[in-house]
């Protein structure tokens, strides 16, 4: 299975779609598949797919236009902010892990510069 079965699946699919939005794989203003098509595409329960849409909407990343469907927001600034916050979160996790391993700040920086 492509998901971690111990964590809520809606969260994992939401992360996938969020990543697609910030990288531009899903363009601003692009229409998303309907809930049922999304369920088939991601191989998830339709109720889980609906939850993903509700959460994406609550997070302000998509908007539902009555009768026509759900679209990625067009607000490039909002998408940019989201990208920054996701990158910050990833950096924090990385730093935390490195410190767990006992690396100093200088060692982390050196590692990053030599690592491809």
């Amino acid at each position: 299975m492509q998901y971690n079965a111990n964590e809520p699946i809606w969260l994992q699919v939401m992360d996938l779609i969020t990543t697609d939005i910030v990288t531009g794989a899903l363009a601003p203003g692009e229409k998303l598949p309907g809930g049922r098509d999304m369920a088939v595409k991601y191989s998830i329960n339709p109720n889980t797919a609906n939850r993903v849409y509700r959460e994406l909407e609550d997070a302000g990343l998509v908007e539902t236009r009555r009768g026509t469907g759900t679209y990625v927001i067009c607000d490039a600034r909002r998408i940019g902010e989201l990208k920054t916050s996701l990158a910050e979160k990833a950096a924090k996790e990385f730093k935390h892990r490195m410190m767990e391993l006992g690396l100093s700040r200088e060692e982390i920086v050196r590692l990053l510069e030599t690592e491809d």
């Binding site: 299975m1 998901y3 079965a5 809520p8 369920a39 088939v40 998830i44 329960n45």
Partner: protein
């Protein structure tokens, strides 16, 4: 939509299903889980109106299931059920004669997805193809309840994706799906609820996303907890 009230089934002195109270609602895909001989198939056959309970009743929309409710309930059993002379096409025609809600158009679409074609003879189908054909004819009906007993058995890894897609396409708000399988992992993401039974008794009927968010457990984890405990109790 489907309600089991104190349903019991005994075969002689052996009790296969033991006072099961269970309410299943439309708009969900349930995974029905339990070790071999726990009563899953017997319960489904009673819900499909194929065998009668010894005690209690299964109701479909408030009425006990009978011959009439078979119009609304599509059941796929584990037993093979086509004549060897049949082609994939004649299997479809046969179903069309039997069930008013069978759509030949939908059947063709399903065959395409499952990579079967109309001209194939059932005699020459591999066990995996036969399993897919059973799923195709069952889902080509526009029923209210679909019960699939072991839909992933004998099906290779890649074809399981096709089956999952067909199942998900059939899931709608006014329909109820119940899947019984030993391949628990195959159902983790497509089911939203799990019904665990053991030795004919209902253990629990849980929301899977809640199980994950509140207890950090997958369906497979919960399965191991329940049945490992049952084994300990037995000793």
């Amino acid at each position: 939509m489907l309600e089991s009230k104190q349903v019991t089934k005994a075969f002689g002195s052996k009790i296969a299903v033991d006072h099961v109270d269970l309410k299943l609602e439309a708009g969900h895909i349930y995974a029905l889980l339990g070790p071999n001989g726990s009563g899953k198939t017997t319960w489904m056959k009673m819900a499909a109106g194929l065998i009668k309970p010894t005690g209690g009743s299964v109701e479909f929309n408030g009425r006990p299931v009978d011959i009439d409710s078979r119009r609304y309930v599509a059941y796929m059993s584990t037993e093979p059920y086509f004549y060897s002379w049949m082609t994939v096409k004649s299997v479809g025609k046969y179903y069309q004669d039997f069930f008013a809600d069978f759509s030949y158009e939908r059947y063709l679409a399903l065959l395409g997805k499952l990579r079967l074609n109309e001209e194939m003879k059932t005699r020459s189908l591999s066990s995996g193809m036969m399993a897919k054909l059973k799923i195709g004819v069952t889902l080509a009906r526009d029923a209210k309840v679909y019960m699939l007993d072991e839909p992933f058995n004998g099906i290779d890894l890649l074809a399981r994706d096709e089956i999952r897609a067909c199942i998900l396409e059939s899931a709608k708000e006014d329909k109820l799906l119940l899947l019984s399988s030993h391949l628990v992992e195959e159902m983790e993401a497509i089911a939203d609820r799990a019904v665990f039974i053991s030795e004919g008794r209902l253990i629990e009927n849980v929301d899977l996303e809640q199980l994950r968010s509140e207890r950090g457990l997958s369906m497979a984890d919960r399965y191991r907890q329940i049945y490992a405990q049952a084994e300990v109790d037995e000793k």
